[in-house]
């Protein structure tokens, strides 16, 4: 296929949803069906275009396949002073796969939303909101797709921020709810903190190489600009510093420790939003970013930090997930945990596995979220799992889809999750073996998380679909949604099968088209380390697979014991842990408490208020009016205070300051007695005389 066509397609892919956004926001409410078909159709067209790109990529079947084109967007330079920002499109294997995944998930989620966002009679509950929901979704999709095709950090960042905005708008979509409003601002602000890091990283990058383009970055890396000691920042090499700062963006966007707090709250948004933004795409964009700049991270030796944060987040979130009762919260923590996996994978150098897990996770997590949406829809917006139970019979499509997706996330063979997770665990194990010491913690974290994941996901399935219904009223009315609601579930469940990603029938063999096509950039500077990382995976492959199978089975089994067969009472299981553990988990390890209560309410706001007071009282009144206060105090002793205070009621300003006080003392001088005036004159003349004599003679 012509390359220029591909570029055109690539540009059209985000533009179509963007156009849909504008149509929707302008005239959405006046269109038939509130224009949901505009958004859905647009993203479907994008999907078709994405398949074209994918097939072109597939046809080339070359790990270093790249189609790129760039333009100058802003040119600040004039003759002899070139400063410009180029933006462009870069299609390579990563972006082609990502495009396909994003457009597919987005299409399905749009479709799902056409059902989910209506009430049970098929009416959009609130006309305006229905249309704007789709407009936001479209804007979001456009931004996400724009991010994927960016060949530079600048447009990537712009799209990144717009996604943040959409996330903000969609989390706060139920705007009559305070909790939604709080969650939205929390999400935006938390990610913004990370984004600032990213932004600073970009600044440093631009200062260093004068460009944002990945190609330029790779070239500069190869030229050693990033490692040149004279470019070091704060004693770290440029690569380390920039890599770390960019990784900050990921920490915010992909909700890694310590900025993970926003993601669970983001579940205040409608469920399709959770599926699209907070599971499949936006949060994955953070991982996509570090995959893109993997060379910088590698060269800068930031990877251990990445691995540490990823591993820690994975475990830590998984533990929280166990105690959640809200069906979406469980999924949210599981998302956190899985994102941790991806980051961990990259941290131990497994570029391919990280991206692999990103894709597989996107598919099954989107499926899981939509299933949960389907359940919630069926239960009339009841989200507490303790009120569910036995739904398997009432909503079979949902049940089976969810079951498959759960197996996938739990890492059961035959499913995509098994393959990707296995690659990660293999690398981690190899890494641990190679480095020893503390890096074993990563290994422990990886495997424990795998077990816990299986445990809490099956807990969800058991509590929701098995056992007895706890809320008969809702249970009786529960029913499957229309085709537009179950079709996406089934499709995504189907895509969670192993074969999709390998292309061959051996369910235990991860090697396939995906691993062949998705390879780290072929940079000489990376060659050695990439080879080393491949060694890790190779070494750890077999033991990891066995171990992961064991822990996954154990997790599922325990889950069955406790929640399925109820052999062990949940309370007893809970009772074996000391109280502080519960307390910590219930309070989400006190992160929210710390950020909101301590950092913001006790730190930031008093600080802000303090400055306001300073502004009012010191800068304003102190420098302008306040000197008057000082003067007042001084004058008070000589009974002038009345004059000055009275004056101040309408004087304030400059007049309230020293001048007025002086003016009042002049008033005392000017007491109406002409002899006083004359005395003043005579004395002043004499003083002047002596003064001038002193000066002049």
């Amino acid at each position: 296929m012509e390359q220029s066509n591909l570029i055109t397609y690539a540009i059209l892919i985000p533009l179509l949803p963007l156009a849909a956004y504008f149509i929707q926001s302008a005239v959405g409410t006046r269109l038939p069906r509130m224009g949901d078909w505009v958004s859905t159709g647009a993203i479907f067209l994008s999907f078709l275009l994405a398949t074209q790109i994918f097939s072109a990529m597939w046809g080339a079947h070359d790990p270093s396949w790249v189609v790129a084109k760039s333009w100058t967007w802003v040119d600040l330079g004039s003759a002899g002073l070139p400063v410009k920002f180029d933006i462009g499109v870069r299609l390579d294997n990563l972006s082609a796969v990502m495009l396909l995944m994003v457009t597919l998930c987005a299409t399905l989620i749009h479709l799902f939303s056409t059902g989910y966002m209506r009430d049970h009679h098929g009416h959009p509950a609130d006309g305006y909101r229905y249309a704007s929901f789709f407009s936001y979704l479209s804007l979001f999709t456009a931004a996400m797709l724009g991010l994927v095709i960016s060949d530079n950090l600048l447009t990537l960042f712009m799209c990144w921020e717009v996604m943040g905005l959409c996330s903000y708008l969609l989390i706060g979509f139920y705007r009559h709810k305070h909790s939604a409003a709080n969650a939205s601002i929390k999400a935006f602000m938390t990610t913004r903190v990370g984004d600032t890091g990213l932004f600073l990283g970009m600044l440093a990058l631009f200062a260093l190489i004068g460009s944002f383009q990945f190609e330029e970055i790779y070239k500069a890396l190869q030229d050693g600009i990033f490692t040149d000691p004279k470019n070091s920042l704060l004693g770290f090499s440029a690569a380390a510093m920039i890599g770390f700062l960019i990784f900050c963006g990921t920490v915010g966007k992909s909700a890694q420790f310590p900025l993970q707090v926003w993601l669970p709250d983001a579940m205040e948004g409608p469920t399709p939003v959770s599926a699209l933004i907070h599971a499949a795409t936006m949060v994955a964009a953070g991982v996509y970013l570090i995959i893109r700049v993997f060379p910088i991270l590698d060269v800068g030796n930031v990877l251990p930090i990445v691995a540490g944060i990823g591993g820690f987040t994975a475990l830590f979130a998984a533990i929280l997930a166990i105690k959640q009762n809200d069906i979406k919260k469980v999924l949210a923590y599981s998302t956190l945990s899985q994102l941790g996996y991806m980051v961990l994978a990259l941290g131990v150098g497994n570029f391919t596995a990280s991206f692999f897990h990103l894709i597989t996770h996107a598919v099954f997590k989107a499926c899981l979220f939509m299933c949960s949406g389907s359940v919630i829809y069926a239960m009339h917006h009841e989200q507490d799992m303790r009120h569910m139970g036995g739904l398997a019979k009432k909503i079979p499509f949902t049940f089976w889809s969810m079951f498959i997706a759960t197996l996938a996330i739990a890492g059961a063979p035959f499913f995509s999750g098994f393959l990707s997770k296995d690659m990660i665990l293999a690398s981690v194990l190899g890494y641990g073996q190679h480095h020893g010491g503390l890096s074993w913690l990563l290994v422990v974290s990886g495997f424990v998380t795998a077990g816990l994941t299986a445990f809490y996901m099956f807990r969800l399935v058991f509590m929701t679909f098995f056992g007895h219904p706890h809320d008969h009223h809702h249970y009786d009315e529960a029913h499957e949604g229309g085709w537009n609601m179950w079709f996406p579930l089934v499709t995504l469940a189907g895509l969670s099968l192993w074969v999709v990603y390998t292309g061959h029938v051996n369910p235990f063999q991860a090697q396939g088209w995906f691993t062949q096509l998705i390879q780290p950039p072929k940079l000489p500077i990376l060659a050695e380390s990439v080879k080393e990382y491949a060694e890790f995976e190779h070494h750890g492959h077999v033991p990891a697979m066995i171990a992961s199978l064991v822990v996954a089975t154990l997790g599922i089994f325990f889950s069955w014991l406790v929640f399925g067969a109820k052999k062990i009472p949940a309370a007893k299981l809970a009772g074996i842990w000391p109280n502080f553990v519960h307390k910590a988990i219930d309070n989400l390890y006190f992160f929210d408490w710390f950020y909101i209560k301590v950092a913001i309410q006790k730190g930031l706001m008093p600080f802000a208020k303090f400055w306001t007071i300073v502004d009012d009282k010191v800068v304003d009144r102190g420098m302008v009016d306040g000197l008057g206060d000082v003067a007042n105090v001084a004058k008070g002793t000589i009974n002038l205070i009345d004059d000055v205070v009275v004056d101040r009621t309408f004087v304030d300003g400059f007049g309230g300051g020293i001048p007025s006080a002086l003016g009042s003392s002049l008033k005392v001088l000017q007491n109406g007695q002409v002899q006083r005036y004359l005395s003043v004159a005579v004395v002043a003349l004499m003083l002047l005389f002596f003064f001038l004599r002193g000066v002049l003679f």
Binding site: L76, V83, L165, L203, W611, G653
Partner: protein
């Protein structure tokens, strides 16, 4: 069209005279006459844009006549890449301000005459190429502004008006002294003839002059730089000269706030670039770090103050302090990205702040109060999004433009400023980046409390002053849209494709950097 710059500046005077002689009962006609009058500069500005040669760094469309010969003062107008954007902004904002003041009831004639005089001052300032002329226009603005705040303002209008006046006058006299000093020293370098001409003054090598004050020697340009700095800093306003701003904004009527934020504040930074940079490059180079520090303080400080505000308009006012801080930093770093970002930020802030003040006015017109949190500690607004989605949507555009969201104008200019400043002042830039987070914080927190959540909006009874629950909020009206739509569209345009705007200024500004360096 010959003398287009003069027409651009002085045409509203004709309208002012016409209005002055209209019978005072024809209030609505007065408004239309005002609108028609102010449309002319807008059209002229568009025409000017067509006549403007982007590739040239020289002053264009110059008009030069002798004015006061005993001082060698000239009537000297011209436009270059630095001023063209500001001229466009001024024409636009002045025009929109007429519509923003449609519901003025008190002394309508006087109000519109004052607006027109204000236009003359602002436009003249941006176009003047003679320092003296510049100063005259600068001071001419004070009087209409004083009356506009003082007569048509809020409860504490007198205080705000006099505060504004005093501060600006205070800065103005310093500027006057600095200006005269330059004038006199220019004689020695200019063939014995003193001059106020910017072009002539720019050629002078100031380093040769020293002046003794109380026995110590000072370099003239360094000293004068600070005098001029004071004059402009008050207008920007640079921390710590900013305290008039919240007062002036809060008390001023909507249209005046729009003009104040949209144009007047830019005059300060424009003055820095036009005067301090062009005339005193050595001193600028020596003191640029002060600008950076004050700018960073302004960014952070303004943001913190905005965070704690309980009055909607005050919040927006402090956000102006914060945003103008970026401009200072951008211009001080002397990199193409920084300085162009700074000028673009001036333009952008003009758009987004004008929008926000208009929107504050929209809410105030409907609810007669501006409490985010009332004195009793209740939320003054809340859930407006449910009743008035369009108002909310436009607010969002303004808010996101203000906090620098990509796709809207604020991002471009802020990003340019950061890009320009990072290589030069790394630590300061990093500190300044806190401002990004805080900027999002105060704006979003405001949005949350005002527009989201359950509908708890209060309405103030103008007769009794009591607050009680509002039931409905009228949606945006056509007149308000006339004001907001062009601003919003421009915000988007600059955000997506800023190159046309950058083309207008880049050659001039890059040359300015060369001059200073």
């Amino acid at each position: 069209m010959s003398h287009i710059l003069s027409w651009l500046t002085f045409f509203p005077l004709i309208g002012a005279v016409v209005i002055a002689f209209m019978p005072s009962r024809m209030d609505s006609l007065v408004k239309w006459v005002a609108a028609a009058t102010m449309a002319v500069p807008l059209v002229l500005a568009a025409q000017l844009l067509g006549m403007f040669d982007q590739s040239s760094t020289a002053f264009q469309l110059v008009e030069q006549y002798d004015w006061i010969s005993s001082f060698n003062i000239q009537y000297h107008l011209g436009v270059d890449g630095l001023s063209i954007l500001m001229v466009l902004l001024t024409a636009l904002i002045s025009f929109l301000a007429i519509f923003a003041s449609w519901n003025i009831k008190k002394m309508v004639k006087g109000y519109f005459i004052m607006l027109m005089l204000l236009h003359v001052g602002m436009m003249g300032c941006f176009l003047a190429l003679d320092f003296f002329l510049f100063f005259v226009f600068w001071e001419v603005m004070l009087i209409p502004m004083y009356f506009l705040i003082g007569i048509w303002g809020g409860e504490k209008k007198e205080y705000a008006a006099i505060k504004f006046f005093l501060y600006t006058m205070f800065g103005g006299v310093f500027m006057l002294i600095g200006m005269l000093a330059l004038y006199f020293f220019s004689a020695d370098a200019n063939g014995g003839v003193s001059t106020f001409n910017f072009l002539e003054l720019a050629k002078v090598d100031w380093s040769q002059f020293k002046v003794a004050i109380f026995g110590s020697q000072f370099a003239v340009d360094k000293l004068v730089w600070w005098f001029l700095f004071l004059g402009f800093a008050v207008k920007v306003p640079v921390w710590p000269f900013h305290t008039w701003l919240p007062w002036a904004h809060v008390q001023a009527p909507t249209a005046v706030s729009i003009i104040l934020a949209g144009v007047l504040l830019k005059l300060g930074t424009y003055g820095f670039l036009r005067v301090n940079y062009q005339l005193l490059p050595d001193a600028t180079l020596a003191f640029k770090y002060a600008l950076v520090i004050l700018g960073v303080i302004g960014v952070i400080y303004g943001a913190f103050c905005a965070l704690a505000q309980k009055d909607l308009k005050k919040l927006v006012a402090y956000s102006s302090v914060s945003h103008m801080g970026y401009v200072l930093v951008g211009m001080a770093v002397l990199t193409p990205a920084g300085i162009q970002g700074a000028v673009l930020q001036m333009f952008n802030h003009g758009l987004s702040a004008a929008m926000m003040f208009m929107l504050v006015g929209v809410l105030y017109d409907r609810l007669h109060h501006r409490y985010i949190v009332t004195p009793e500690g209740k939320l003054g607004f809340g859930g407006i999004a449910q009743k008035a989605p369009w108002i909310t949507a436009i607010w969002m555009v303004a808010v996101f433009a203000g906090m620098g969201l990509p796709g809207l104008n604020g991002f471009i200019s802020e990003a340019l400023i950061f890009l320009g400043s990072f290589p030069v002042y790394r630590t300061e830039t990093v500190i300044m980046s806190i401002g990004i987070v805080l900027g999002a914080a105060y704006l979003l927190w405001m949005v949350q409390r005002v527009f989201l959540g359950p509908f708890t909006t209060l309405h103030k009874d103008t007769s009794t002053g009591a607050l009680h629950a509002a039931h409905e909020i009228q949606e945006i009206t056509g007149r308000e849209l006339i004001v907001l739509a062009p601003l919003g569209a421009l915000c988007l345009w600059v955000g997506v494709y800023p190159q046309p705007f950058i083309n207008l200024m880049k050659n001039t500004l890059n040359q300015l950097i060369e001059v200073v360096k």
